[in-house]
C-alpha cells in the first residue's frame, strides 16, 4: 500500500532539454542544462519518442550508533581523535580475541526499528562478510546478513511541491531491514610516497544499516526521506547522524524504466556527504541514465561516486571486479535474543536482557508527532512546524518565547522563522549560538505586543541585540528613543505637516484613490523614524483628510 502511494508520485521524467523548462521537475537543473544541451545536439530529435521514464530510487543508509564504546569491543568512540588511539586488541584483530556485543548498540537498533515501524526480530544472527582491505583488520566484517535485528518497516516523510512551503505532500518509503554491523577503519592513500596509512579508530564502531526499498523517484524525495530519518535518529539519540562527520552515510541505488516495464539496471551512487548533494547526485544520475538509454547506450550495474565539485557521478574504480563475500555465520556470537514483556523469563537479570516493550514505552515523541502537537497547541501552520523541527533547538526556542510573551504564537512564529532564523542562517549560527536568547526575544515581542514600539522599531532593537552587548530590549528602546510617540498632539502635528507637504496626494485621496493614503502613512513613519503606530497614524490622517 505504502509502495503504491509512493510510486504514484508523478515521478515521470522526460528529458528536460526536449520538453523545455516546463517539465515536471524544473528545479535543480542548473548544471544539467548545459551538459544536456551540449550532448542533446548529437541526439536525433524524436528518436527517443515521447515514452516517459520512471526513475526508481532506493537507499542504503549507514548510521553510526551513538555509543560510548564500539559494537564488539570496549574501545571508545570519538570523532577526530588522534589516529589509532581508540583501538582495542579486538579492533586490531589480534589473534585469539573475540567479539562481545555492546548492549547499548542493540538498544539503539531496537529503538530505531520501533521508530521506523519495523517488526523486531526476537532472534537475529550475526554473519561474517569477507573481503581483503587494509582498513578491515580481520579480513571480514561482522554484519547481519541472514536475519537482521529489524525488518518490514516504513518511514513517512513530507516534501513541498515546486519548492512552495505551502504545498506539502506526505509520502511513505518501506524499510526493508535494519542490520547491526561493524564500521571499517579509514585508509589514507599517499600516492606520492605510494603508501597507504590506516587509522583503526573507526574500525568496529557500531553501525545500523537501514535499507530503504526503491519507493522514491527523485532526488528531492530521497533527500526528504533521509532528512526525516536523520531527525528521527537524532530525536531517539540512536545516532548523532551528522553527515559531515560520516555518522550518516547514504548510498543511492538508481535506475530508470518505462512504465509497465521491469526495473532498469541500477547503479549505486556513493560518496554523498550531504543531503543537498544527495538530491543532486540522484537527479544527475537519473538524467544521465535517461540520456544514456536514449542515446542507445546501456546502463552498467556499477558503483559510481558523486563528485560534489563537478556535480556529477563518475564510475568508481572497481575494487576487485565481482566480489564474492563468502558469507558465513559468526561462530563466536550466539544468536541475539530479545525479549518482550510476554517472553521475558521471570528469573532473568534485567541488566542482561533487552526488553523490546520496555524500550517501546520509553520512545520519545517522534518528529511527526511533535509537529502535530505544535500545530495543535499553537495554531501554527504545518509547514511552520517543519521549519521549527528542521533546526536543532528551534522548537524549544519558540516554545520558550511563547511562554514568556503575551503575543499570540501565530505571530511569534513569524518573528522566529522570518527574522531570527534568517539572521542565524546568514551568520551560519546554530540556535544555541544565537546571541539573542529566548528571554530577550520574548521581552522584545512584549514591547511590540504592548504597542510600546512599532515593528519597524522592533527590528532595529533586534539589530542592536545581535551585537550581544548585554543590553535589554527596553534599554535599547530608551537609549535609541524608539518608543512609540504617545503624545497624540505631537503625532497630529507631524501628520499635518505631511499632509501640508503632499498636495497632489491629498487631492488624489480626496478624489477617491484611497491607496495613496499608504504613502502618507509611510511618510509619517519615516518622519517619526518608525516610532508611530501605523493604525493610529491612519486614523489621524483619515480624520484630518475628511475635515
Amino acid at each position: 500500500m505504502a509502495a503504491v502511494a509512493a510510486r504514484g508520485c508523478g515521478g515521470v521524467w522526460r528529458r528536460a532539454w526536449q520538453h523545455g523548462a516546463g517539465g515536471p521537475r524544473p528545479s535543480s537543473r542548473g548544471q544539467r542544462a548545459a551538459a544536456s544541451s551540449a550532448r542533446g545536439a548529437v541526439v536525433p530529435v524524436g528518436k527517443s519518442g515521447l515514452a516517459p521514464w520512471v526513475p526508481v530510487v532506493g537507499l542504503e543508509i549507514h548510521a553510526q550508533i551513538s555509543s560510548n564504546s564500539k559494537l564488539f569491543s570496549g574501545s571508545q568512540v570519538q570523532f577526530a581523535a588522534p589516529p589509532n588511539s581508540l583501538v582495542s586488541f579486538f579492533d586490531a584483530s589480534l589473534p585469539g580475541t573475540l567479539p562481545v556485543l555492546n548492549r547499548r548498540c542493540v538498544e539503539a537498533a531496537v529503538m530505531t526499528g520501533l521508530a521506523l515501524n519495523c517488526s523486531i526480530n526476537k532472534k537475529s544472527l550475526f554473519d561474517r562478510k569477507h573481503y581483503f582491505y587494509a582498513d578491515l583488520p580481520a579480513g571480514y566484517q561482522i554484519t547481519q546478513q541472514r536475519v537482521p535485528i529489524a525488518v518490514n518497516g516504513s518511514l513517512s516523510y513530507s516534501l513541498c511541491i515546486d519548492n512552495k512551503m505551502s504545498q506539502m505532500v506526505t509520502k511513505t518509503v518501506r524499510i526493508k531491514q535494519i542490520q547491526l554491523e561493524q564500521d571499517s577503519g579509514k585508509s589514507l592513500h599517499d600516492d606520492t610516497r605510494s603508501q597507504t596509512l590506516v587509522d583503526l579508530n573507526r574500525a568496529g564502531v557500531g553501525l545500523m544499516e537501514v535499507v530503504m526499498e526503491p519507493d522514491m523517484c527523485c532526488g528531492e524525495e530521497a533527500a526528504a526521506a533521509v532528512r526525516e530519518l536523520q531527525l528521527i535518529l537524532q530525536t531517539l539519540g540512536s545516532s548523532q547522524a551528522v553527515m559531515a562527520e560520516g555518522q550518516l552515510r547514504v548510498d543511492a541505488n538508481v535506475s530508470v524504466h518505462h512504465p509497465g516495464e521491469p526495473y532498469g539496471v541500477r547503479t549505486e551512487v556513493k560518496n554523498i556527504n550531504s543531503i543537498r548533494f544527495l538530491a543532486k547526485a540522484v537527479d544527475y544520475e537519473i538524467q544521465r541514465q535517461i540520456e544514456e538509454l536514449e542515446n542507445g547506450g546501456t546502463i552498467l550495474n556499477e558503483t559510481r561516486a558523486f563528485d560534489s565539485k563537478l556535480g556529477c557521478t563518475v564510475p568508481m574504480r572497481d575494487k576487485e571486479g565481482k566480489q564474492d563475500y563468502r558469507f558465513m555465520p559468526e561462530p563466536n556470537l550466539p544468536p541475539l535474543i530479545l525479549y518482550d514483556a510476554k517472553s521475558l523469563p521471570a528469573n532473568m537479570n534485567h541488566q542482561q536482557v533487552v526488553n523490546i516493550d520496555w524500550i517501546h514505552e520509553r520512545l520519545p515523541d517522534l518528529p511527526s508527532v511533535t509537529r502535530a502537537k505544535l500545530v495543535e497547541r499553537y495554531g501554527i501552520l504545518p509547514e511552520h512546524s517543519f521549519a521549527l523541527l528542521n533546526e536543532d533547538g528551534l522548537t524549544e526556542f519558540f516554545e520558550n518565547v511563547v511562554k514568556q510573551t503575551q503575543m499570540k504564537p501565530k505571530k511569534v512564529i513569524g518573528w522566529i522563522l522570518n527574522v531570527l532564523l534568517s539572521y542565524l542562517k546568514q551568520h551560519s549560527l546554530t540556535v544555541k549560538e544565537s546571541p539573542v536568547s529566548s528571554v530577550l526575544m520574548a521581552d522584545l515581542l512584549n514591547l511590540l505586543e504592548k504597542k510600546e514600539i512599532s515593528s519597524t522599531a522592533a527590528k532595529q532593537v533586534l539589530a542592536e541585540l545581535w551585537k550581544g552587548e548585554g543590553k535589554t530590549p527596553l534599554e535599547i528602546v530608551k537609549e535609541k528613543k524608539l518608543e512609540l510617540i504617545q503624545d497624540q498632539k505631537e503625532l497630529e502635528q507631524i501628520c499635518q505637516a505631511v499632509i501640508d507637504g503632499q498636495e497632489n496626494e491629498v487631492m488624489a485621496i480626496k478624489a477617491g484613490n484611497l491607496k495613496v493614503l499608504n504613502k502618507l502613512i509611510g511618510l509619517v513613519q519615516r518622519e517619526t523614524q518608525g516610532r508611530s503606530n501605523p493604525v493610529l497614524v491612519k486614523q489621524l490622517l483619515e480624520k484630518k483628510l475628511s475635515e
Binding site: F89, L94, T97, M328, P331, N332, L333
Partner: protein
C-alpha cells in the same frame, strides 16, 4: 618427585618437602635434558623462576593461592601469553609477542601456577601428528622408554634411533610429551577434532576435552571456533579435575561460555559405577581399528559389566559422515579465521611492496605452510556463493544429525559412551610422513571428532601398553556439562587398569642429534 601427580606435588609444596623454586629448577633441568623431544617451542626460564620465587614467598607467608600455587605447567603455543612468544608453530607468527594473556593462562597464573614454556604443535593446530609445525616434529617420549625398546626389535643398531622414534599424535603433541616426560605437571592443549585426546592416547596421559562453552576460548588462537575447546593434559584423572576446576566458568570476554556458575568438584575416592549405563557405539568399530585396541575395548566393557554397570551396544548412525562434514566446516572456518593474517597489524610481513594486494599474497604464501594454505583454499571454495548451500549448509545439517545421534543415545538412558581414542598405537615418524596431512587427519580424528561436532565432554584415559610397548588409551564421552560424572567414571577405570609408568632411559645421549633434525625440519 617429578613423577608425582599434581595433587601429590601440591601436597609436598604445602608440607615444605620441596619449594616452588626447587621444583621449577628441577623441571627446567629435565626439560633441558629432554630438549631432543622438541616438546617445547619456547622455554620461559626467566619468568618461570620469577613466578616460582613469588610462589615461594607466598608459601613462606603461609598464604599459597591454592592447589596450583608453585606447580610448573606448560601451555600449547596457540594460547596467547603476554610477554612470551606465541607462534602457533608458524612462520606467520614467529617472533610474535602477544600483549595479553588468554583467559585460561591468566587463570592459571592468578592461581600461582608457574609457566615453564610454550609447547609444540602442528602449524595452527592443523594436524594429528605434531609433525607439521615450523619448529619440527615432536618425539614421543615413549620412543625412549624401556618398555618400547624392549619390545621393538631394531632392524639394525644404527637405524634404531632415527627410524624408530614414534610420533606423539596431535596437534597438542608438545603438551602431551611434556606431561608424559615429567617436565611439567599439567599442560594446556586445544581440542578441535581430537587434538588433546589423540596425543594423550599416544603419550599415555590423561587428555580431557571439556564441554564446549565450559572453558573460555578467549586468547586461544582459533582453528574452528565452533568446535575448539581448551584441553587439559595431566598424569591422572584427579589432576584433570583439579585443572578443570581452576579454568571452568563464564568469561565475559567469550560470549560462547555458559552463564551458569561452575562449581569445582572433587572426585570420590571409591567411585561406584554399578548404577551406570555404559554405551558401546558400534560405529566406532571402524575400519583400520587395530585388533589389540579392539580387544582392549571389549575388555574394558567387561570390566564395567563385572562391576555391575549396564553395558549396551548403541548406534550413532551418522558417525560415518563425520569426516567429510568436519572437513567442510573446519576448512570454511579456517579460511575465515586466517583472513586476518595479512601482514599489516602483526606477524610476518613480506618485503614485497608493489601493492597492498601483492604484499598480502606474498605474506600469506611465505607465512603459511602447505597444510594451512590448502585448508584456506578449500574453505573459501565451500563458502563461495554457488557452493555454500551444497557444502556448508549441508555440512551444518549433517553436524546437527551427528549431535542428535548423541542426544538420542543419552536420552535413552545411557550415561557414558566408551570408545577407543585412536585406531592404533603411535606409528614411527618415518611411517607417518608417508601420507599427507589431510589423509592422516581424516583417519586419526575419526574416533574423536564427533564429540567436537556435538560439543560433548570426552576424555582419554591411558589403558594399556600395546604389543610394541606403546600406550593405548580409551575414550569416554559424557553428556554436556556432566564433567563430574565423566571424570568419576574415568577415575574408576583408571584405578582398574593400573597403567604402567613410563620408564625413561638415560636421555642425555640423544641430545645432540635433535638439533640437527630441528634445522632440517623447518618448512621453507
Amino acid at each position: 618427585m617429578l613423577r608425582a601427580s599434581l595433587r601429590e606435588v601440591s601436597a609436598a609444596l604445602r608440607e615444605g618437602h620441596v619449594t616452588p623454586t626447587e621444583l621449577c629448577q628441577r623441571c627446567l633441568a629435565l626439560l633441558k635434558s629432554t630438549r631432543f623431544l622438541n616438546a617445547y617451542i619456547t622455554v620461559a626460564e626467566e619468568t618461570a623462576l620469577k613466578q616460582a620465587e613469588e610462589s615461594e614467598k607466598r608459601y613462606k607467608r603461609g598464604q599459597p593461592l591454592g592447589v596450583l600455587d608453585g606447580i610448573p605447567i606448560a601451555v600449547k603455543d596457540n594460547f596467547n601469553t603476554a610477554g612470551i612468544e606465541t607462534t602457533c608453530a608458524s612462520n606467520m607468527l614467529k617472533g610474535y609477542i602477544s600483549p595479553y594473556n588468554a583467559t585460561v593462562v591468566q587463570k592459571l597464573l592468578d592461581q600461582g601456577a608457574v609457566l615453564l614454556g610454550k609447547t609444540n604443535l602442528d602449524e595452527f593446530a592443523m594436524g594429528s601428528g605434531s609433525t607439521d609445525g615450523v619448529f619440527g616434529p615432536v618425539r614421543n617420549p615413549w620412543s625412549y622408554s624401556r618398555q618400547y625398546k624392549e619390545k621393538s626389535v631394531p632392524k639394525s643398531l644404527s637405524e634404531d634411533e632415527e627410524s624408530n622414534w614414534v610420533i606423539t599424535g596431535g596437534s597438542s603433541g608438545g603438551s602431551a610429551a611434556a606431561v608424559s616426560s615429567f617436565t611439567c605437571f599439567a599442560a594446556l592443549g586445544s581440542d578441535t577434532g581430537g587434538s588433546t585426546r589423540n596425543p594423550a592416547a599416544h603419550c599415555g596421559v590423561v587428555g580431557l576435552k571439556p564441554t564446549y562453552g565450559l572453558i573460555s576460548r578467549h586468547g586461544l588462537i582459533p582453528l574452528v571456533n565452533s568446535m575448539d575447546v581448551p584441553g587439559i593434559l595431566t598424569r591422572c584423572v584427579d589432576d584433570a579435575a583439579i585443572v578443570l576446576g581452576s579454568l571452568a566458568g563464564h568469561d565475559p570476554k567469550d560470549s560462547t561460555t555458559i552463564q551458569d556458575n561452575f562449581k569445582p568438584f572433587e572426585l570420590p575416592n571409591l567411585p561406584d559405577v554399578s548404577k551406570l549405563s555404559i554405551g558401546i557405539p558400534k560405529e566406532y568399530h571402524a575400519p583400520g581399528l587395530s585388533s589389540e585396541i579392539l580387544a582392549l575395548w571389549s575388555k574394558a566393557a567387561d570390566l564395567f559389566k563385572n562391576a555391575g554397570a549396564q553395558v549396551t551396544e548403541v548406534s550413532l548412525p551418522h558417525t560415518r559422515y563425520s569426516i567429510v562434514c568436519y572437513h567442510v566446516l573446519c576448512t570454511a572456518e579456517v579460511a575465515s579465521n586466517m583472513a586476518r593474517f595479512d601482514g599489516l597489524e602483526y606477524g610476518h610481513r613480506s618485503d614485497m611492496n608493489k601493492s597492498t594486494e601483492s604484499m598480502y599474497a606474498a605474506t600469506r604464501r611465505e607465512g603459511f605452510n602447505d597444510v594451512v594454505r590448502g585448508r584456506i583454499l578449500s574453505g573459501n571454495y565451500f563458502l563461495l556463493k554457488q557452493n555454500y548451500e551444497n557444502y556448508f549448509i549441508k555440512a551444518q545439517k549433517v553436524r546437527r544429525l551427528i549431535a542428535n545421534d548423541f542426544l538420542k543415545v543419552f536420552g535413552s538412558g545411557v550415561d557414558i559412551l566408551l570408545t577407543p581414542t585412536t585406531l592404533s598405537d603411535a606409528v614411527p615418524y618415518m611411517e607417518f610422513i608417508k601420507e599427507d596431512n589431510r589423509t592422516r587427519s581424516a583417519q586419526d580424528d575419526i574416533l574423536t571428532q564427533a564429540a567436537n561436532m556435538a560439543g560433548l565432554p570426552a576424555i582419554n584415559v591411558p589403558a594399556a601398553l600395546s604389543e610394541r610397548g606403546l600406550p593405548i588409551g580409551l575414550q569416554f564421552i559424557g553428556r554436556s556439562f556432566q564433567e563430574k560424572q565423566l571424570l568419576t567414571v574415568a577415575k574408576w577405570f583408571e584405578k582398574q587398569v593400573k597403567f604402567p609408568m613410563i620408564q625413561l632411559e638415560e636421555v642425555k645421549r640423544h641430545s645432540h642429534d635433535v638439533f640437527q633434525h630441528q634445522k632440517s625440519a623447518s618448512f621453507s
